[in-house]
């Protein structure tokens, strides 16, 4: 029907380009249209029809429209459509045989439906015009000779490798189009940009035919679990769990985190909107050092269709390292003592302190040996970079030499350390920080004035960012935590600061009667590290004014200082881009190796010692990256499913530069348990981005005719006239008919 009225199919319009064959200039068209308008207007005025008002205007506009359409037809509109030359092109029919295609629908399994649709008239029609090649894919692409051999047994769906393989074949074959029969349940998060670029370079349209229900009723699914890959022993980490449900709105479900048989946390969830993605953040205590498998599960609900998508495992490495923090304080004060006490309660942190007790004496605590810091604040990179964090208390900027100031900047920027500034009568604006090298490192802009430190009471209040932050989480429950902060004893003192810098996060604000409101705790990223400001030295009252059992003060300081150092790397940073490798054991080991000054170590020997399940143990050599100094990498294939721990050791000559560890996990056969609904959105997007179209299975007849419009393979361009479209004549007829009807109705016009 569409073709009868418009001379071409919708696909031709979709693929074709509009042209006007007359080639006359458009200014002629505009001039002619204007002349017609003037003539019609003048005629009406002459006959005295202007007095009829809008009726005359409407009739004149209809006449002008008809004239414009006729004029446009003189310019000869046409469509240039690329189409495949018959019998000279290959059409690839690619069928997904992953396990999700084995899900039973009303008319058999998805793969049975696909095979049935293909093997009918569709295949014969295609074969009458093109060479047809059949492929199956799940993890990779393979040609097949007959549809009967295909079974839904693939353990994963990976669209990208399959499409890349087709694009590669197009180098030697005239591939005119790809037709993908799938449910779109890709396990890799979609089609990567490289694959899309390869298809677009060869102008291969990917038509997609979607199978399976677009929504599965009565199901709860874990759609994502985000956990940090490393943590310090005994620390709390944030787990962000995403899930969605259908058929259970208003019900509750239980979310459980376990490490082996030990339950780490549970949370009751309220299931909301149908199909809406929900998210919940849960705090977990990670326990002792070691490699762990954190099992995340949603307890199955009665009548749930698929319970296999309620469970997943994430690897977590609880490191045995104990970061050291250097705290330099300019005067004896209570905050110093109580910070030390709070950290002493934390077995994962070590605090080394330098306190200026008198003008010329420094009292050192927590030092590794009597020589450490004997000369005062470090002035060599290897001395300062031995620490992971740095706290600068009430010390005036002038106490540090320019070289030390630059070293502190490098400590954060290059070494990746954490730096915390505290308020004090010699600190921040009072200590001349606003005009020193510290100004750049601070997460706030300091006022350029004195008398900013006050020994007056101030209260602390969490900001929205602070409510989300782990640093400020004294109580597990966010709302209770917010209320708890409101009840904390007032601070003994505070210091005025300016506004937070762009990108900095104000976690806590202070309210001081008679003074106003200022940022109290502000954090930011700086270079490879992070800096923070706490605009008080009076949190010690939280300890002295609250019962002994209350641990607010300890919790706050331990969390703040863990944040300060937990992401501070050592000389060797190792990782893998795929902490969970689904079904395919291929993993890449990466290591960044730096020397004592944290400059790239380009002449290191780097080994990865891999320990895995069932006695897997091997050593893998990492090779230097020729493009980037200090980067080493290796590809490796994990032979068995399970958790692996990799310890990377870097050496230079006989000496060890450093070592680091990470974990990853190979999961076999679980990816297909997730995303079992047809992912129509992905398929539509893939088709749109490659110039193809999305079809439902019953629309395959249309696909047979549409598939010929393609610029890939061996194609030609055909010009189709549009001036003689029946739709145009009908339109003209409609306009003139409307004019006639109006004239009859209004009589005198």
């Amino acid at each position: 029907m569409f073709e009868f009225f418009f001379n071409c199919s919708p696909a031709a319009f979709h693929k074709g380009n509009w042209v006007f064959l007359a080639g006359w200039p458009w200014w002629v068209f505009a001039l002619a249209l204007m002349a017609m308008g003037v003539a019609l207007g003048a005629l009406g005025l002459r006959r005295g029809r202007a007095k009829l008002g809008f009726r005359w205007i409407l009739i004149t506009l209809l006449q002008l429209c008809a004239a414009a359409i006729l004029l446009l037809l003189l310019w000869r509109p046409a469509l240039i459509v690329p189409f495949l030359k018959p019998h000279q092109n290959v059409v690839a029919l690619v069928i997904d045989d992953s396990r999700s295609m084995g899900i039973a629908e009303r008319d058999g399994t998805r793969i049975e439906q696909a095979a049935k649709k293909i093997s009918g008239r569709f295949l014969n029609d295609l074969k009458s015009r093109f060479q047809v090649r059949l492929y199956r894919f799940s993890s990779s692409l393979e040609p097949i000779s007959a549809l009967e051999t295909i079974r839904a047994q693939g353990v994963a769906t990976r669209l990208s490798p399959a499409l890349r393989a087709i694009a590669a074949e197009a180098a030697s074959l005239p591939v005119g189009a790809v037709v993908l029969f799938t449910d779109g349940a890709d396990n890799t998060g979609g089609v990567d940009p490289g694959t899309l670029a390869a298809l677009r370079n060869r102008k291969i349209p990917v038509h997609t035919v979607g199978f399976g229900r677009e929504r599965i009723e009565n199901d709860v699914e874990l759609t994502g679990v985000q956990l940090p890959e490393r943590a310090l022993p005994g620390s709390r980490i944030e787990a962000v769990v995403k899930f969605r449900q259908r058929g259970f709105s208003g019900r509750s479900a239980k979310l459980i985190f376990q490490d082996g048989k030990q339950t780490l946390a549970t949370r009751e969830l309220q299931l909301k909107g149908e199909g809406d993605q929900q998210s919940v953040t849960v705090l977990l205590r990670v326990g002792d050092a070691g490699a762990k498998d954190v099992q995340v599960s949603l307890e199955p609900l009665p009548g749930e269709e698929n319970t296999l998508n309620n469970y997943c495992v994430r690897p977590l490495l609880v490191e045995s390292r104990r970061p050291r923090i250097l705290y330099v304080e300019g005067e004896p004060r209570w905050e110093f003592k109580f910070i030390r006490r709070a950290v002493e309660e934390d077995p994962t942190l070590r605090l080394v302190t330098m306190l200026r007790t008198t003008q010329n004496k420094i009292y050192r605590q927590g030092i590794a040996n009597p020589k450490e810091l004997e000369e005062g604040f470090p002035s060599k990179p290897e001395e300062l970079f031995a620490f992971q964090g740095l706290i600068i208390g009430g010390v005036e900027a002038g106490y540090f030499t320019p070289a030390q100031m630059e070293l502190i900047r490098e400590f954060v920027n290059r070494r990746g350390g954490g730096l915390l500034f505290l308020a004090g009568r010699f600190g921040l604006a009072e200590g001349g920080y606003a005009k020193s090298g510290f100004a750049e490192l601070l997460p706030v802009t300091l006022p350029d004035k004195k008398q900013t430190f006050f020994r007056d009471p101030a209260t602390a209040e969490l900001t929205p960012a602070g409510r989300e932050s782990l640093i400020c989480r004294i109580e597990e429950d966010p709302q209770r935590n917010f209320e708890r902060w409101k009840k904390l004893p007032y601070l003994a003192n505070f210091q005025e600061t300016g506004a937070a810098k762009p990108g900095a996060r104000v976690l806590v604000e202070l309210q001081a009667p008679g003074h106003g409101r200022y940022p109290l705790l502000v954090t930011q990223s700086y270079g490879a590290g992070r800096t923070a400001l706490l605009a008080t030295a009076g949190t010690w009252r939280w300890q002295m004014q609250q019962p002994l059992e209350d641990k607010s003060h300890e919790a706050f300081w331990q969390q703040l200082l863990r944040w300060l150092v937990s992401d501070t790397p050592g000389p060797v940073i190792s990782s893998t881009p795929t902490p969970v490798a689904y079904d395919d054991g291929a993993v890449r080991f990466q290591a960044r190796v730096r020397d004592l000054h944290y400059l790239p170590a380009m002449d290191a020997t780097v080994e990865a010692h891999v320990t895995g399940p069932e006695g897997v143990s091997t050593v893998v050599d990492l090779q230097p990256d020729p493009l980037e100094g200090g980067i080493y990498a290796a590809e490796w294939s994990a032979p068995k499913p399970g958790s692996y721990i990799v310890e990377v050791v870097a050496r230079r000559g006989d000496g060890e530069v450093g070592r680091d560890a990470f974990t990853f996990r190979r999961e076999d056969g679980t990816a297909e348990n997730f995303r079992r609904e047809q992912n129509r959105e992905l398929l539509e997007k893939l088709s749109e981005q490659t110039g193809g179209r999305y079809y439902r299975p019953h629309e395959l007849d249309r696909l047979v005719s549409d598939i010929q419009y393609s610029e890939a393979g061996i194609s030609v361009r055909e010009t189709k006239d549009l001036w003689n479209m029946p739709a145009v004549f009908l339109l003209l007829l409609g306009i003139k008919g409307a004019e006639w009807l109006l004239r009859r109705k209004w009589g005198a016009v």
Binding site: G330, E331, P332, R333, W334, F336, K337, F338, R340, R341, E344, T353, L355, R356, T357, T358, Q359, K361, Y363, Q365, R425, R455, D456, A492, W540, R541, Q543, M544, Q545, Q546, P547, L548
Partner: protein, 271 residues
């Protein structure tokens, strides 16, 4: 009846004479200034500072009569306020501690004490804490407070002191502080310590009082090995602070008293 009246009148006369003698100022002592009269407040008396000399006011031992002058005024006031203010001048001059020029009197009956993490108690051989006060002192010390005691002597006063202290910490022993403890090295190295006498025994040519011949530096520690209560027994650091500005009080005693006091404060602010 007559005899009874005579005895009563004689007793009253003796009492009045005793009080009169006790309240005599100067007289036979070379120390012209005293430690009981009010001193003019320095101009910066109201300055808000990090640290102040917090003097503990406590109820005294009930078995004691009014036979001693200090019993009438309260033993917690001994050397007050001159010792406090003289000592603070030294703290200000010798350290970077932001110290207030005048003392702060605190007690164990309100929560105000939790604003002062270092407190000083003098003549604790005469104190007698109530159960509520013992409980509050225990809580104060365990939260992080620090108590320095001074100027009590001999066996009897020790027993009075420990009678209350045992009710504060029934399960924590009082031990001698080792020479190697940080409290003797945090600022000054105090390996060589000696008895610091009060002015009265010093005038008699002695350095000790009662049977307190040997000076003892003792302490009660918390579970992490930090001193909570620093006990200076058989010495009188308070007098040494108070009379440090007097030419006839030996410098060596005053100097040691200052060093001990400053070390104890800095220890309390670092441990």
């Amino acid at each position: 009846m007559y005899l009874r009246s005579l005895i009563l009148a004689t007793a009253l006369l003796i009492l009045l004479l005793s009080a009169g003698i006790a309240f005599q100022r100067g007289g036979r002592f070379p120390f012209r200034e005293d430690d009981e009269g009010p001193l003019a407040l320095p101009p910066d008396a109201n300055e808000k500072t990090e640290w102040a000399f917090a003097r503990l006011r406590y109820p005294q031992y009930r078995g004691e009569g009014l036979g001693r002058w200090w019993s009438a005024r309260g033993h917690w006031t001994v050397d007050y306020p001159k010792a406090d203010r003289t000592f603070v001048q030294g703290v200000r001059r010798l350290t970077r501690i932001h110290a207030r020029s005048v003392e702060q009197v605190v007690d164990l009956d309100s929560d105000e004490i939790f604003n002062w993490p270092w407190i000083y108690a003098v003549e604790v051989g005469h104190w007698d804490l109530t159960d509520a006060q013992c409980k509050k002192l225990r809580e104060y010390l365990l939260r992080g407070g620090f108590l320095m005691t001074d100027d009590f002597h001999g066996t009897f006063e020790w027993e009075v002191f420990t009678a209350s202290m045992k009710r504060v910490f029934p399960d924590r022993p009082i031990v001698d502080i080792e020479n190697s403890d940080a409290i003797f090295h945090v600022l000054y190295d105090l390996d060589e310590r000696f008895q610091v006498p009060g002015i009265y025994p010093l005038m008699r040519g002695m350095t000790y009082e009662y049977d307190g011949i040997e000076p003892k530096w003792r302490a009660i520690y918390d579970d992490k090995g930090r001193i909570m209560v620093a006990i200076c027994h058989n010495m009188d650091l308070g007098d040494a602070w108070e009379w440090a500005d007097h030419p006839e009080y030996p410098e060596r005693y005053a100097s040691l008293a200052y060093r001990i006091g400053i070390n104890y404060i800095i220890y309390a602010m670092t441990h």
